[in-house]
Amino acid sequence: MTARTTPNGAVPAVELRNVYKTFPAGRSESEVAAVNGVNLTLPSGEFFTLLGPSGCGKTTTLRMIAGFETPTAGEIYIQGQEMSRTPPYRRPVNTVFQNYALFPHLTIEKNVAFGLNVKKVSKAEQQRRVEEALALVQLATVGQRKPTQLSGGQQQRVALARALINRPAVLLLDEPLGALDYKLRQAMQLELKALQLEVGITFVYVTHDQEEALTMSDRIAVMNQGQVLQVGTPIEIYERPTTRFVANFIGETNFLDGRVTRVNGSRCVVQVADGLEVSGSNYQPVAVGDTVTVSIRPEKIRIHESRPEPQPNLFEVAVDRVAYIGSDTQLFMTMPYGAKVRAYDQNELSTVDENYFYAAGDQAWISWRPENALVLKD
């Protein structure tokens, strides 16, 4: 029962220390490690997202915080209390399930009041708080209906109200927008973020959708194969990925594999082919001879119609294929020595003149600033 604190003295809402979870794998002797040594500290009031591909352990991590799974090893602190073995009904957390899990035999009002009813809160108080919670999610008029009479988006809001009415310290959301269509999902993203700011509760949000994660989160933990690869703000995760996996999973990027030939502080030169060197930035220390990956986001590559002034990282390329997507044109190009590169040419001019756009077979020049080329050791 030791209370743990962050450096500034506040008790974090959730803290995971060396958490492992293994599941028995069928009839074989081996076990599957779903969560493999996770450490996380979530300050109070944060919108925190666990982001990763399916099977990365994000949902298992969430279920351990909720109390539906017990860690094989490690500790889980909720508001400073060790709770890894506390049953779900004694934790100050509530969950919004992926498929909503509304009780089909109860009305919306009774669904929302469920938590208060279990805790024997007075009827008058229940009534007042149910109205408050339904108003919070803009569903004041549907209290007497059954869950099946509501649309998916409405059921989602009821699930939110049912969880928030208990005033949990932490709200856990397991891909809550996964079943909604695209437009509704976008609207709900903004609403969820606004709601979180309004109630001030710590949200732990699980998703595999990077756009969702970038739009809503204060901080994101990118997970893969049961481990947390990187924790940071959306900007940090996108602009300063520390591993090839994170760079590739969030947004689009180009990878050039090579070997470090020169290092000068946070700048280094990487040989990506015989006689082809690129200069980039190493935000982590690298040494000459290291095998590295250079990651360059397509929107950070400049495209030149004719040979420009000499500058770093200038290469002549052949345009293989173009894809016009409205706001910009995506160019798929081959660099000298065969490396493939993709870049986005923003369509600044409103025209229907085909000559304005690049076409397959064109010759062009590309360049990028060394600070836009991230050298990743992986």
Partner: protein, 271 residues
């Protein structure tokens, strides 16, 4: 696939099948209103006196009462035990679960006569006097698997997240059972009770072997077949039971379907 039209072969097959199945039952009802002691054509005119005599035959009414009591009590017990078994089998993984299901479902495939002889031997070894209680025990055993299968089917269709959601909202295991699991399983439990009652009510083999001094209705009817003069009363009673049984089966099916509305709101789109 488009439903195909009935050929004339299909049609006549259906007619003959239906007549063969329901003609005896129809005859039963016709003869219960026939003003004659012998069950032969031609009919002798319409009467309701057999119904009156039936109600005045105290042993008959007594055996009917025995059967109703036995059916209600044994079905209640079977519904409770069978529901518990269903929850255990559907919600928990434990070593020997497959064996447990096989053993619990065994009475479905054991001939009742064999079970009856076995239980008779057991009770006489233990010096337990035969009575309605011993028949009741037999009926509980044969009805547990029926209840278990009907309730388990409902629980399998129920979203497991519902129980987690209840616990997440502060409900303990028992509270979750009372507030979520059992209310959702309730229609299936009612249907299982009715099916179980019907099966107990007309069960003959176990009752015949295990009965004490108070007969159940089927046992009483069988014992009266030796007396031709009693036949019209038996026929009348059989008609009543048949109509009541049909109504009960229809009602239980109605309840079961009412319960089979989705046990959890369906989400839209891909999942």
């Amino acid at each position: 696939m488009q439903p195909r039209r009935l050929t004339s072969f299909n049609f006549w097959y259906f007619v003959i099948f239906t007549v063969a199945l329901y003609l005896p039952l129809l005859l039963l009802i016709i003869f219960s209103f026939n003003d004659a002691k012998a069950l032969v054509f031609p009919l002798q005119g319409f009467t309701t006196r057999w119904y009156g005599e039936m109600l005045r035959t105290t042993e008959l009414v007594g055996s009917l009462w025995n059967s109703v009591l036995l059916g209600v009590a044994s079905s209640l017990a079977a519904t409770i035990l069978g529901t518990m078994a269903a929850i255990g089998v559907v919600r928990y993984k434990f070593p020997g679960r497959g064996l447990f299901v096989a053993v619990a479902a065994m009475p479905l495939v054991i001939p009742y006569v064999v079970l009856a002889v076995a239980m008779l031997l057991l009770f006489s070894q233990l010096n337990i006097p035969l009575s309605l209680w011993t028949v009741g025990l037999g009926h509980v055993i044969i009805n547990i698997p029926l209840v278990m299968l009907i309730v388990a089917a409902r629980l399998i269709g129920m979203d497991k997240n519902l129980e987690e959601a209840a616990m997440d909202l502060g409900a303990t295991y028992w509270s979750t059972l009372a507030r979520v699991t059992l209310p959702i399983a309730f229609p299936a439990m009612v249907a299982a009770f009715l099916v179980s009652f019907t099966s107990s009510f007309d069960e003959f083999a176990l009752a015949f072997f295990l009965i004490g001094p108070d007969p159940t209705l089927p046992v009483y009817i069988y014992s009266q077949l030796r007396f031709p003069s009693r036949l019209p009363i038996i026929v009348t009673m059989a008609s009543v039971i048949m109509v009541v049984s049909v109504l009960m089966i229809v009602f239980s099916e109605y309840v079961r379907r009412w319960g089979n509305t989705p046990a959890g709101p369906r989400s839209e789109g891909a999942q």
